[in-house]
Structure formats: C-alpha cells, structure tokens
Symmetry: none
Subunit: 195 residues, 4 copies
Amino acid sequence: MNGFERRKEQKKNSIRRVALELFKVYGFNKVSMNDIARKAGVSQVTIYNHFGSKEELVRDVIKTLCVDLLGKYRAIIKGEGPFLEKLETILLDKTKIVGQFQGELIQTAIQNDPEIQQFIEPMWQQEISQLTVDFLHEGKEAGCIDPGLSDEAILVYFEILRKGIQAGFNIPAKMERNPQLLRELMSLWVYGLNG
Amino acid sequence: MNGFERRKEQKKNSIRRVALELFKVYGFNKVSMNDIARKAGVSQVTIYNHFGSKEELVRDVIKTLCVDLLGKYRAIIKGEGPFLEKLETILLDKTKIVGQFQGELIQTAIQNDPEIQQFIEPMWQQEISQLTVDFLHEGKEAGCIDPGLSDEAILVYFEILRKGIQAGFNIPAKMERNPQLLRELMSLWVYGLNG
Amino acid sequence: MNGFERRKEQKKNSIRRVALELFKVYGFNKVSMNDIARKAGVSQVTIYNHFGSKEELVRDVIKTLCVDLLGKYRAIIKGEGPFLEKLETILLDKTKIVGQFQGELIQTAIQNDPEIQQFIEPMWQQEISQLTVDFLHEGKEAGCIDPGLSDEAILVYFEILRKGIQAGFNIPAKMERNPQLLRELMSLWVYGLNG
Amino acid sequence: MNGFERRKEQKKNSIRRVALELFKVYGFNKVSMNDIARKAGVSQVTIYNHFGSKEELVRDVIKTLCVDLLGKYRAIIKGEGPFLEKLETILLDKTKIVGQFQGELIQTAIQNDPEIQQFIEPMWQQEISQLTVDFLHEGKEAGCIDPGLSDEAILVYFEILRKGIQAGFNIPAKMERNPQLLRELMSLWVYGLNG
DNA sequence: AATGAATGAGGGTTCATTCAT
DNA sequence: GATGAATGAACCCTCATTCAT
C-alpha cells in the first residue's frame, strides 16, 4: 500500500472511529451524517465519497467492530491461563466493546440488514462456534463444567449471561468496584443458586 | 369519575394502546405521531391535547407499562406454587411484555429521560426491590438458594438472566420448543456449570 | 362538497396551476419543490401534505392536463363547422396547451412513469382513438380525405404533424403572423407537395 | 498538429463520444460529470481541464453533433439518386442521430443557451437553408413539388415532418416494419390527404 | 374537544466544481 | 497535465409541532 492509499485509509479510519464513538453513545438513528462530519472535521460529502451512504457506513463500522471482537475473543480462548479466569474475562471484557451501545443495540442493525447478516453469519458459525465449543471442552476437562450438560444448553446459557451483562445497568463497573460481588457471581455461574 | 371523563380516559387509553403496539415493533424513534394518529383513528392534534408532546406520550406509555409490569410481577411472587416454578415464570414470561421492543430498548428511553427515572426509581426501589427480596427469602427457605449468598449478588444475577433472555435471539421460544433445554437451563441456574 | 373540501380543492388547484406554469417553462426536473412552494406562497410541506411527493404532483398535473385536453379535443371534433377548419384548430390549437413544454416534453414523463401510462392509455385508446377515427370518416365523407388511404397511415400522419408542430420553433406563432403561410400549409396537408 | 496535440485531441474526442452517448440516452441533466468521467476512464478534473465546465462540454458536444449532422445532410442532398428517395432518407434517417435524445431534447439546450445559438444560427441559415433551397428546386424540377408553393412554406412543412417523426413513438421503426405504411406516408406527403 | 391545514428544522443524498499533490 | 480528495449548495422528503376553525 503506497502513501496515497495509506493516507486515504487513515482518513477512513478516523471517520470510522468518530462514527463508532457517536453510534455507541446515541445509537445509529440518532446520529446524523452531519454530526459525524462535524466531529470528524470533514464535509458530509467526504463521508459519502468514502462510504457511499449512511447505511454502508453503519455496515462498515459494525464489520470492523466484529472483526476486532473476534480477534480479542480468539486471543482470550487460545491464550494461557485457567478456565475460570478466561470465562470471567470473556463475560466481562467483551462488554467494554459492544456493550455500551445504547439507543439501538448492534443486534437491531444486524437483524434488519441482510447484507450484514451474510457477512457475519459465516464468521459466527465457523469461527465463534468452533471457538466456543473448544472452550466448553476445556471447561469440562478442567472439571469446571459438568460433562452431563449438553453443549447447546451451555452455549445458550453463555449467550444469556453475555447479553444480560451487556444490557444491564453498568454491571461490569459494579463488579469492578465490588470484588466481592464478582466472586459471588462467578460462584453463581459455577455452582448455581443452590451453592 | 363521570361519564364525560370516562369517555376521555377511554380515548386516551386507546391512543396509549396503539402507541405501545407500534413502539414495541418499530421503536420509539421510528414511530411518528402521524402513524399513531392514523392507526388510532384520531387527529394528531388530539394526541397533543391529551398528552402534550411526543416525549410525554412516550413517558406515559412507559409508565403505564411499568405499572402493569409491576402488577404481574407482584401477582407471580405473591401467588401460590413452588419457588422454582415462579422463578421460571418470571424469567421467561416477563419477556413477552418488554422483550419485544426492537429498535431502541425501553432502557434507552429510561436512561435518557430524567423525568421518567424519577418516576420509576422509587417504584423500583421500594416495590420491586422489596418484592424480590421477599422472593429470595422464599427461595432460601425452600432450600433452593444457598443462604450464604448475598442478596445483592442474587439480584444482579437475576437481572443478568432476565436481560440476557430478553436480548437473546428468541430464547423463550427455543425453550418452549425444547423442554429438555429448559430443564437444563433451570439446572444451570440452580446448580451451576459444575452441576 | 362542503366548504372545507372546496377550499382545500381550491388550494390544491392553485398549487397545480403554479406547478404547471413552471413545468411548462422549465421542465419537470428543473423545477424544485421549493420553487413551486415559493411561487404558490405556501410551505414545501404543504405541497407534500396535498400531493405526497414530487412524482405524484407531476402525475397529478399531467393527468389534469390530459383530461382538459381530451375535453377540448372532443369539443372540437363533435362541434359544428367544416372538416378543414376543425383540422386546423386541432393541429394548431392543441399546441397552446401541451406544446410549450420545454425541458422535457410531457412525453418523457409519460414514457418513464408506468403509473401514468396506466391512467392515460385507456383514455387514449378508448376515447381519443375513437374520436379520431370518427374524425377521419367525417373527412372522407366531406371529400377531403382519399378513401383509399388506410386509417393507420392517416393517424400516424396526424401524429407526425401534431408532434412536429409542437416541437418546432414556435410554428403556430409563425402561422398566425403569416396567414399566407397557414393557407399554404393547409394546402400541403390536403393536396401534398405535388399540389 | 504534432503528436502531442493529436493525443490530446484523441482524449477529448473519447470524452466527447462518451458524453454524447450518455446524453442521448438520459438527457443532459440526468448525466453527471462523474458518470461521464467513469465511463470515459478519466478523472472528473480531466474533463474540466479540457472543457472548462459542464455547460461548455454540452455546448461542445452539441456543436460536434451539428457539424456531423450538416455533413450527412449535405452528402445526401448533393448525392446521386431520385428526389423522393433523398426526401425519405432525410426525413427518416436523421432521426437516428438526433431523435433518440430523451429527457430533454437538444432543442432545449439550444434555446436556453445563447452562446450555442450564436454558433448554430449562422450555420443553419447559411448552409442548411441554402442546401434545402437547392433541394427544393431539385424537387420542383423533378416535378415532385408544385412550383406555385413558396419556399418558406415548404421549409416549414419539412421541419414539421422531421420534428414530428423524431418526436413520435418510434415512427421510423414502424415504417421499416411496415413498408405499406411507408408508401402511404410518402404518398400523403406528396399528394396530400386528398390523394 | 377535535380537526384539517400549515410549518421550521432537520434528515440523507447528489451535484458541479475546486484544491493539493 | 492528470489525479484523488474535498466541498458548498441544492434537492427531495419527514417530523414534531402549532394555527385557525
């Protein structure tokens, strides 16, 4: 990539960054192209020249986000460390990336945009699914997960926990402020209400 | 309340109902006053005469929704039946009311509107909190909840589960179609990953 | 129609009139909704409330125009007077209505808008065709048209003449200024180049 | 002209060609500089460097077109063959060049742009007028045109026919598919409605 | 009390054109 | 001389809201 393209990509990234920032806080609909343009210090048309339309900009931002996310996810699972620590990191840390979306959650955008579904679905099914299954087996071998439980149930359980933490009122912050709470929640996940 | 006011209240309720219906499906922003007016069979101005502004209409709808919700919640908890059944009903059934909000979740509206916070917070803290604490004690007495766990941790855990189920891809439907899955999830909640 | 609707229809008509006037001079594309609104002394949105969109406004104007046109056409053909005089009136007078469209001719709008085609085609085929065929027979009976000529050929010939007069550089004006020219052209139509 | 200028002129011609092609199909207004640049494989700025502005490009294209047209016209009239055949060629064949303009007819551009009028008018009056007068005399000598008719009337008649054929619904195609129709129309032109 | 009519502000988008390299 | 990047102005359209009846 030569100097021209590099600078172009830099500018695109700067727009992406600004857009993501605003989308996170106000949601996709509430942020106007004008908002993004002003905050990025460019004209609206510049964004159109680079991304084509607002819809495509949203797509682009989401895709970028998902790729980043997948990378972090993989790094955690394939990394070193005990199973429970990884579990904690995943459930709490991903939050910092996706979870702050207010307004409409990223989910909405995905559900309503077939184009983006086609991009994400393969990634999800081939990569994330496999990663998660690997992770489950690691948990079972580590003795943290009852081998009698079906994979599907555990996956759904994880999804519920992840989404619930994201959607909740700043739950990660609460946990960080109160280590006791974190420990208890981990205990609830592993040993259940019944202890 | 005389006949005059009763008819007035009926019309308000009919507008409320229509608005809620549309909000649920399309989110607050995507629904225009015009949409509501047409579907309710009245003029836009009539809505303004009754509710003052869109913002206030949204507030009103949310308040109504919350009061309804609180009623159902109380009915379940104060009702008859074993603890685990109530737990299941709460986690799964409330979904059908709030969970269908697409676009922006109700959360957003609440977080961004101080007025509504002031209305909801007391209700939440005085009523719901008390109800839930009662519920926890019932669970502990029934031997389903480890008495060693703090109330706060359990409350947060419940919140996570509830939000996670709402936000997930039609998880209640999945559970209803697959009773095995439901049983396993209940088991996960009660006995944890470790079984 | 009560007073309400009458005033509404008056305002619609006033917008229609302004729009037609501008469309005639500048063509459909060059005239913006803002132009029309300003010249009609209303807000843009008022036009949208009445007509829905620019496309529909254009349609409406064209339809109105066509209905008017058909009326005049019928009046001429069904009216009294010698055949040749009617022929002259038709070829020259219709011009004053449609022919001044510059920019894009009405034709374009019709060709590119299926909706309007569906409105005009039946009218054209059922009414105008029949009228014109009647007119031809009148001409044949009056001895002005060679009975050996096929209807189709004459219809096409008329169409060519009409369109040619419309599209030409102010030909009607020329003819009116120079009665000699008018007489010669009529002679050309009736007796041909060969005299 | 050296090699440098020749290459420059080639590039200009390639742009001209592309522009004409697009203008013919979509009209002057609907074609953007971007469209032309992309289809010609150059940057927008290159067009500006060569032609100055869109207006001047349109002028240039029209001028080129007119010069080409005049050439063809002269070739036909000065060429060999019987008068009636030439007449047919002129009325039908020129169509293929100018007649496909949709959107706005070339006329519009000419009428609204004084600069182009100043270019075309002399050409028209000095060259085309003379050519056509010559053509008329040929027709009169060939016995196809009544010598009693004034030149002006015949010129206007030709203009009407030419424009009418251009503006009509694919009349040339109709004629080519139906030779009978062509013969009848020729008869109408030469012998009139009266036969 | 209820309505039809009207609107200012703002949305996304496109265009001909200029700037900097 | 040619280009990619950038832009101000304008376009069509929608919305929450108010005015007049």
